[in-house]
């Protein structure tokens, strides 16, 4: 068993190397020194406690948005709507922060968590219902609703919530509406929420009755239905749960990371979660590892932008190359269910 794990790790490392090699050529073409650039990336992220903490900060929302994809994928559902669900979660959480900001944190934070999850859940409930009734495929509806959610957020910000000074963001949340940070870094409590939920996900799928029924639906929906498992109910509930998780990520972003709701605050966190869940094959441990790697690339990319004068979109090239290299290895992903 250990040799199998070692072999898998080696193969993934080899694939990562290949991706970095390819990206090195692109750096060369654009006239940068690839070795120096890579050193910058790793020194800035893993080389110092501060850098490391920044990686964790970037990883935190990815854990949640990836889980929001991984959970429905076990039923064969494709939730591309993490982005929209995240926005709706942030939206409702912000309302709570602005309305109940004067209350003590032990009261206002739970309210924000609940409302954030509710916002995401409602946003995922719509595609869930449509799918369960056999009207529209959930992939399409979740994707389309992604375009709507940021508009709703903007509507509230520009119309009602903007601070006196700005038009595109709310006032800074009161301190009781901020998630507590840890160890004097920007890492906040939502990291542990994410890890705990991933653990819970693993436990449910592995040991519980519901996990068994969900695996049955994912394995053969027709047989599961004929065996008396309420597949429609599961579709709706699981979509709502996934939306709630993505909504929680949105709540954590505004309450922990920003402390304020910005219009268009998420640069594709939901889509990144989709990518991560896919790469990890929907496994909880894989999600943690992949999120970490992606977070390194993202934070390193920010830094390259500053020190090496590279456009940020270069980092997307590196991410895309990683995906390609992984895709080109079907032997690794055969056993995994496509998300």
């Amino acid at each position: 068993m250990w040799t199998a794990i070692l072999r898998t790790a080696l193969r993934y490392a080899a694939m990562a190397m290949l991706a970095f090699l390819l990206f090195g050529f692109i750096l060369l073409i654009s006239g940068k020194d690839p070795i120096q650039s890579y050193r910058d990336i790793f020194v800035s992220t893993l080389g110092s406690a501060y850098g490391f903490s920044e990686v964790i900060v970037a990883m935190t929302p990815l854990l949640l948005t990836a889980l929001a994809v991984a959970l429905p994928s076990r039923l064969g559902l494709i939730n591309v709507g993490g982005e929209g669900q995240l926005y709706m979660g942030a939206c409702l959480a912000t309302w709570a922060a602005l309305t109940f900001g004067a209350l003590p944190p032990w009261l206002v934070l739970p309210i924000m968590v609940v409302l954030g999850m509710l916002g995401g859940a409602v946003w995922a409930w719509i595609p869930g219902q449509l799918r369960a009734r056999g009207i529209v495929n959930e992939t399409i509806t979740t994707l389309l609703l992604n375009a709507v959610a940021p508009m709703i957020v903007s509507f509230f910000i520009f119309g009602y919530w903007h601070s006196p000074m700005d038009t595109n963001k709310t006032s800074i949340f009161s301190s009781s509406a901020r998630l507590p940070t840890l160890f004097h870094t920007r890492v906040d409590l939502s990291l542990f929420l994410g890890l705990a939920l991933l653990g819970l996900f693993w436990f449910i799928m592995r040991y519980t009755r519901w996990g068994l029924e969900m695996r049955a639906i994912g394995g053969n929906p027709q047989a599961a239905r004929l065996n008396g498992i309420p597949t429609r109910g599961y579709v709706v509930v699981v979509m709502c749960l996934a939306g709630a998780v993505a909504g929680l990520a949105g709540m954590a972003q505004v309450s922990g990371y920003y402390g304020v709701l910005l219009a268009n605050f998420s640069r594709g966190l939901g889509y990144m979660g989709f990518l991560i869940s896919w790469l990890a094959g929907g496994s909880p441990l894989g999600i943690v590892v992949t999120s970490f790697v992606v977070a390194i690339i993202l934070t390193g990319g920010n830094l390259l932008q500053l020190t090496r004068d590279l456009p940020y979109s270069m980092i997307n090239i590196l991410l895309a190359m990683t995906l390609f290299v992984v895709l080109a290895r079907p032997s690794l992903s055969r056993r995994r269910k496509a998300t």
């Binding site: 040991y207 009755r209 068994l212 029924e213 695996r215 394995g219 047989a223």
Partner: protein, 519 residues
């Protein structure tokens, strides 16, 4: 055996099949078949499902490779390795599931199929040819209509035109009338008459006797992969054909009958005027009246695709009941979920276990537990009692004398073992109603006996059994009452002892309709 029509002076056959055999794992689908197809005749292949008709024509069409025997085309032995070969030699086939591209027009669909199509095809030329062919054979069809706008009957015409335009001389039609309305069937037969009048040969697969008698020139009856007899139309009678199709020299094992058992009790299941609406390839059920009493086995006879499967699914609740009511143990369950019906004590052995009963990626044990997750759930569902599931699986296995491993994924089991697993699962826990569709399909003799014994035992313990099968021998041997289904209706109902094999055969094939009111 009835033989006929062979003494006459015959033209040279277009195609002669000699000694053709085809074996699939576990079954000899075609066993030394000899057939001659002559130009200018409609040659009907008649037989029950599984008699080997489709296999035979698929061997001729190159879809399957025959294991032995030879095909002689125009007097020369040929080797047909693929449908492509077959078409190049002038053999064309219309499948049951039509194969046109819905988004393209008729003429585009036909052009796609033509051999040696130039890079820029002149569609107008092809359309003109289509129209002239259509006039000649009364196959009128707008060449520019999109296939998705055509009815099934029109699509079938397009398929025929496609073959004619490709200069096919031997046309194989696999159950063409199954999808047609009665007037369309008449039209098709007229078309076929004109085609054979022009010297083409047609092989028509069907299991409807009246159609055969109406339009075939010669009839070959297949039974269990062998030629049971060959007759010309002049000599054919319904009785003779039914005898050829079904006569198995039935030695019916005596299972104790329970005629009218428990009729005074409340029925386990009662369908009143139940109807369903067909979706896709389903058959819609119309005005089904059926009561199953405790302690009886009801056999459902019928040619497959006549609503037997939908009947099972209606009872289970996977096909919604559009009209009428469904009562289970006296309680109305017309709108009940599948889970609810199952929890009330209904077991279901579907006809295709791999697709409909089993989750391939889960282990056998998980599959065994999946119909009763609430029974094995502990702590409100937070944990599963796998030890109990294993114990009960072991009991179910021993009760039937079956052996299959518990911890392998279900997909690694053979078809027979999967069937055993499903039977063991559905018959454990004392179900009060068992719906069994083709429960013994794919099982060896011993497992078949064990499954049948288990059904009888369940019956003797007071359960009701709905046994759906195409094996009339099985139905006559094990059921207490028989119902016959055709075209989504129950067309006959008898106590098995009073039922006559030939009469049931007549009803199944629709040669003699008798709507029997249930008393």
């Amino acid at each position: 055996m009835i033989r006929g029509g062979e003494a006459r002076a015959n033209p040279r056959p277009v195609l002669s099949v000699r000694n053709l055999s085809k074996r699939f794992p576990g079954v000899l689908a075609n066993d030394s078949i000899d057939i001659d197809i002559r130009p200018g005749e409609v040659h009907a292949l008649l037989g029950e499902n599984g008699a080997g008709k489709s296999t035979l024509v698929k061997c001729i069409y190159g879809f399957y490779q025959r294991d032995a025997g030879e095909l002689i085309l125009d007097g020369k032995p040929v080797d047909i390795r693929s449908p492509h070969d077959a078409r190049a030699r002038g053999i064309g086939m219309v499948f049951q599931n039509l194969t046109l591209v819905p988004a393209l027009s008729v003429v585009e669909n036909i052009a796609l199929f033509l051999p040696g199509l130039p890079a820029v095809p002149d569609l107008r030329l092809i359309a003109r040819e289509l129209e002239s062919l259509g006039e000649r054979y009364s196959l009128t069809l707008d060449p520019w209509a999109l296939v998705q706008d055509l009815s099934i009957g029109q699509q079938q015409k397009a398929e025929l035109l496609k073959l004619l335009l490709a200069h096919c001389r031997l046309l194989i039609l696999d159950e063409p009338t199954r999808v047609l309305a009665p007037h369309e069937i008449q039209g098709l037969f007229q078309v076929l008459q004109r085609l054979v009048a022009d010297g083409l040969a047609v092989i028509l697969i069907t299991h409807k006797l009246n159609e055969v008698l109406e339009c075939a020139d010669r009839i070959t009856v297949l039974r269990q992969g062998r030629v049971a007899g060959q007759v010309s139309r002049a000599e054919a009678t319904e009785d003779g054909l039914v005898r050829l199709m079904f006569d198995k020299g039935l030695a019916i094992p005596s299972a104790r009958r329970r005629v009218g058992a428990g009729r005074t009790e409340q029925p386990i299941l009662e369908l009143r005027q139940a109807c369903t609406r067909a979706e896709g390839s389903q058959t819609s059920l119309e005005q089904i009246n059926l009561a199953i009493y405790p302690g009886e086995i009801i056999g459902v006879a019928g040619v497959s695709g006549n609503g037997q499967r939908e009947l099972g699914e209606l009872i289970l609740g996977s096909v919604p009941c559009t009209q009428g009511t469904k009562h289970l143990f006296g309680r109305e369950v017309t709108r009940q979920s599948i889970g609810g019906v199952r929890r009330a004590g209904v077991g279901y052995v579907p006809e295709n276990p791999m697709a409909m009963a089993v989750i391939p990626y889960l282990t056998v044990l998980e599959n065994m537990a999946i119909t009763r997750t609430s029974r094995y759930a502990r702590w409100g569902g937070l944990a599963m009692d796998w030890r109990m599931a294993e114990r009960e699986t072991e009991q179910a296995r021993q009760g039937l004398g079956y052996r299959f491993a518990s911890f392998l994924p279900a997909r690694s089991l053979s078809g027979g073992n999967l069937q055993r697993m499903v039977i063991a699962r559905e018959l454990s826990h004392d179900p009060r109603l068992i719906i069994a569709s083709y429960p013994t399909r794919g099982l060896d003799v011993q497992s078949t006996q064990a499954a049948r014994q288990a059904l009888l035992q369940a019956r003797d313990q007071g359960a009701g059994v709905l046994l759906i099968s195409e094996d009339l021998e099985e139905l006559f041997a094990y059921s207490d009452r028989l119902v016959v289904m055709r075209a989504g209706r129950i067309v006959g109902e008898y106590p098995t002892d009073e039922a006559d094999l030939y009469q049931v055969g007549h009803l199944m094939t629709g040669s003699q309709t008798a709507y029997v009111e249930r008393t």
